[in-house]
């Protein structure tokens, strides 16, 4: 009995110190992927959301709290996207390193220029994000700035490997710039699209296309029959190229609208790993670019 107790006590002591590198906890797959690009084998990255899950519908689970308990750094999208579970996860983790204001608490949105920040907001407008559109991971240039912020944080937290992280950042930036030339060669300027949710505003911002309507009348509110009728009218007039949707959010409604209007549906991945060949950030943007061609 005493032996068992001793071995449990010993294993308890060593579970915390067994990992060599920094333990990074990312809320979303793309953030995990960015941390991995910079940290490579010097960090252990855990991601809270599964690639198949939509970021809007996550709920706090005890396993998330445990992951936060073991983390040195938490990285999140911010702009209230994680407001439904992250405050609770951080608070319940009883991990002082992750508390707001500590270096281990990284709000990635601090590095980017936010789109669609409303001047007035209340909940009669639906579940609108009061700090602006949080889906900025569709913008490679913005994610590069986030990667830069992550690099500085990792270099600060783990000074002995600072030059390693900086070199990884440089390599990532170079690979991205190469790819960006390819992506911008695809002519999307001026094209018109319909989307289910206000998901792709940063993509449109980056590549110069625009949205003429959304299936959701207000963010988070499912489409009503009346709203769809109005949308069909707009589509007849404006003739959009396609309806953009993600696999986990609004597929059925998009397909039914497509059947009514003859406008094709393009299913875009909502995050890294949510479709085939989207295993890291660059292949994720590559996939989107190929699908929009």
């Amino acid at each position: 009995m005493r032996k068992i107790f001793l071995s449990i006590a010993l294993s308890l002591m060593f579970t915390t110190s067994a990992f060599a590198g920094l333990n990074v906890l990312a809320t979303l797959p793309w953030i995990g992927s960015a941390a991995k690009e910079i940290g490579k084998d010097k960090v252990n990255v855990t991601v809270l959301a599964k690639p198949s899950q939509d970021a809007h519908f996550l709920e706090a689970k005890p396993s998330m709290i445990l992951a936060a308990r073991k983390a040195d750094i938490i990285m999140y999208d911010g702009l209230d996207l994680e407001i439904g579970y992250l405050p609770l996860v951080i608070e319940s983790s009883k991990n002082p390193k992750l508390m707001p204001g500590k270096p281990g608490n990284l709000d990635c949105s601090q590095f980017i220029t936010v789109l669609e920040k409303p001047t007035t907001v209340d909940r009669s407008m639906g579940d609108v994000h009061p700090l602006g559109n949080p889906h900025y991971h569709f913008s490679p240039s913005r994610v590069l700035r986030v990667a830069e912020g992550i690099t500085r944080l990792l270099a600060d937290a783990d000074k002995s490997n600072a030059s390693y992280y900086e070199a990884n950042y440089k390599a990532f930036a170079e690979r991205l710039h190469e790819k960006e030339k390819q992506w911008h060669a695809v002519q999307l300027q001026g094209k018109k699209y319909i989307a289910y949710h206000k998901y792709f505003e940063y993509l449109a911002d980056e590549f110069g296309f625009r949205f003429i309507g959304y299936l959701e009348p207000k963010p988070g509110i499912p489409p009503s029959a009346g709203h769809i009728e109005g949308l069909i009218e707009t589509m007849k007039k404006e003739k959009p190229t396609a309806i953009l949707v993600t696999p986990a959010y609004g597929m059925q409604a998009a397909e039914s609208l497509s059947a009514k209007t003859g406008v094709k549906v393009i299913v875009l991945p909502h995050d890294v790993g949510s479709m085939d060949n989207t295993g890291d950030l660059i292949s994720f943007w590559d996939k989107i670019n190929t699908l929009l061609k």
């Binding site: 951080i90 608070e91 009883k94 508390m99 707001p100 601090q110 590095f111």
Partner: protein, 443 residues
């Protein structure tokens, strides 16, 4: 004519003046221009040097740490990058309902659970606005967070909860102090508006009262070790003011204590199991267990909870939840009229199981609760009284137009009054509204 000559004179004079001034100035100005041209040349040369130096620096070391700050959206953000909505965190939850039963208001007020509680149902037929609950949250300083839950009712404002929690203790330790809801069992730790049904489960009503243990004054210590599976250990010292299990005057100091362990594992990506044992024990002294009698003694309530949640898609979830409670109580029962005391021994248990399935905006639920399941010992002066098996079935249907509104229809068939045998068939239409930044509910 006069006017013309005057004006031409004026022009002449003016022209002369400017001409002489111009001539005087010219040399000076030329010198100045040359001078400024030279100085500009120097500035340009200097700037060119700086640019070259910067260029070489950049080429040498293209590291992001030397780059200029890249925060175009630097903003005074609140908690977790939150908005003005979320710091300080303030919200109001309004609970309103319509109630209908086959019993009269008087019959309900006298409807206890024989052998468990004499406290009646605090319900009236018709429309009720139960409370508007105010929630506050804010960090106090880098070491403490503050929470408060202040229900405003017809009777005034209450302090249901007001406590601080440490945020800076290392290694998974946390201390909570103030008036708070105990984490002893599941329904007790949740706010009533977060329950899957309108009212509390029957075993809770039998052992702790219609509102459960409720907010208790005390201190809680919890420890979350970095184990391979989520396991939290906790202990609480409470004042023990619950007037069914304990009683304000049972002892002058704190006289209720809890220990609990909760574990959780993700069975798959889509399902999670949460379970754990707990115990709540202390000194009892109240007059709410038997009619016209005061019970004094020691009580212990053992609990076991299990929750299984299956969430195959983002808009679909099934939650099955069950708890078992076992009460042991030993002491004396004193007739308040005659003053005669008898020894009392109780060992009674109860459990409930409930399931709720939610898809898109709809939810459908069912619950079965019963007491005196495996043990129904109620011995007064060594004589057993048989109180039967109080039980109840409940069904519910809910519609959630948004995250912030819940409309729930609940019907129940209650056979907890085993002495008269009268059933209580209830129907409740409940409306729940949340405004503000209500914190996320725990699992």
């Amino acid at each position: 004519m006069k006017i013309i000559s005057f004006s031409s004179m004026l022009m002449l004079v003016f022209g002369f003046c400017t001409a002489t001034a111009f001539a005087q100035d010219q040399n000076e100005r030329l010198n100045m221009l040359e001078e400024s041209d030279k100085s500009q040349q120097r500035t340009i040369e200097q700037q060119q040097k700086t640019i070259d130096a910067l260029k070489t620096q950049v080429n040498q070391n293209q590291s992001p740490s030397t780059a200029t700050p890249v925060s175009p959206s630097q903003k005074a953000s609140g908690l977790f990058g939150g908005s003005a909505f979320t710091n300080p965190n303030l919200s109001i939850v309004l609970d309103a309902f319509g109630y209908s039963s086959n019993l009269t208001n008087d019959a309900m007020a006298n409807r206890g659970i024989p052998g468990f509680t004499t406290q009646g149902l605090d319900q009236r037929q018709g429309l009720t606005v139960d409370s508007a609950e105010l929630f506050f949250f804010s960090p106090v300083d880098p070491y403490l967070n503050f929470y408060a839950n202040l229900p405003v009712t017809d009777a005034g404002i209450e302090i249901e909860e007001a406590y601080v929690v440490t945020t800076a203790l290392p290694e998974g330790w946390q201390i909570k102090g103030g008036k708070f809801k105990s984490n002893f069992s599941r329904l007790d730790s949740q706010h009533p508006h977060a329950w899957d049904f309108w009212d509390i489960a029957l075993p809770y009503r039998a052992f702790l009262g219609g509102e459960g243990l409720g907010g208790e004054k005390g201190v809680q210590l919890t420890y979350l070790p970095a184990l391979p599976i989520y396991t939290i250990f906790g202990a609480e010292v409470l004042q023990g003011e619950n007037d069914l299990l304990f009683g304000q005057g049972a002892e002058e100091g704190p006289h209720a204590f809890t220990f609990f362990v909760k574990s959780s594992v993700d069975i798959s990506d889509y399902s999670t199991l949460y379970f754990g044992p707990s115990v709540l024990f202390g000194k009892t002294d109240n007059t709410n267990i038997l009619p016209g009698a005061e019970v004094r003694g020691n009580s212990a309530l053992y609990g076991l909870e299990a929750v299984w949640k299956w969430k195959p898609t983002s808009r679909q979830a099934l939650t099955i939840q069950s708890e078992y409670l076992l009460l042991t109580q030993s002491g004396t029962v004193t007739d308040t009229a005659t003053g005669i005391s008898d020894p009392l021994k109780r060992k009674q248990d109860g459990f409930y199981i409930q399931g709720i399935y939610r898809v898109n905006r709809w939810g459908i639920g069912a619950r079965y609760d019963t007491i005196n399941v495996f043990s129904d010992t109620f011995k007064q002066a060594d004589v057993q009284t048989d109180y039967g098996k109080p039980r109840r079935v409940t069904a519910s249907l809910e519609y959630n137009p948004s995250e912030f509104t819940r409309i729930r229809l609940q019907v129940s068939h209650d056979r907890s009054d085993t002495v008269t045998g009268r059933t209580n068939d209830e129907a409740i239409l409940q409306f729940n509204f949340t405004v503000g930044a209500h914190p996320a509910h725990s699992f």
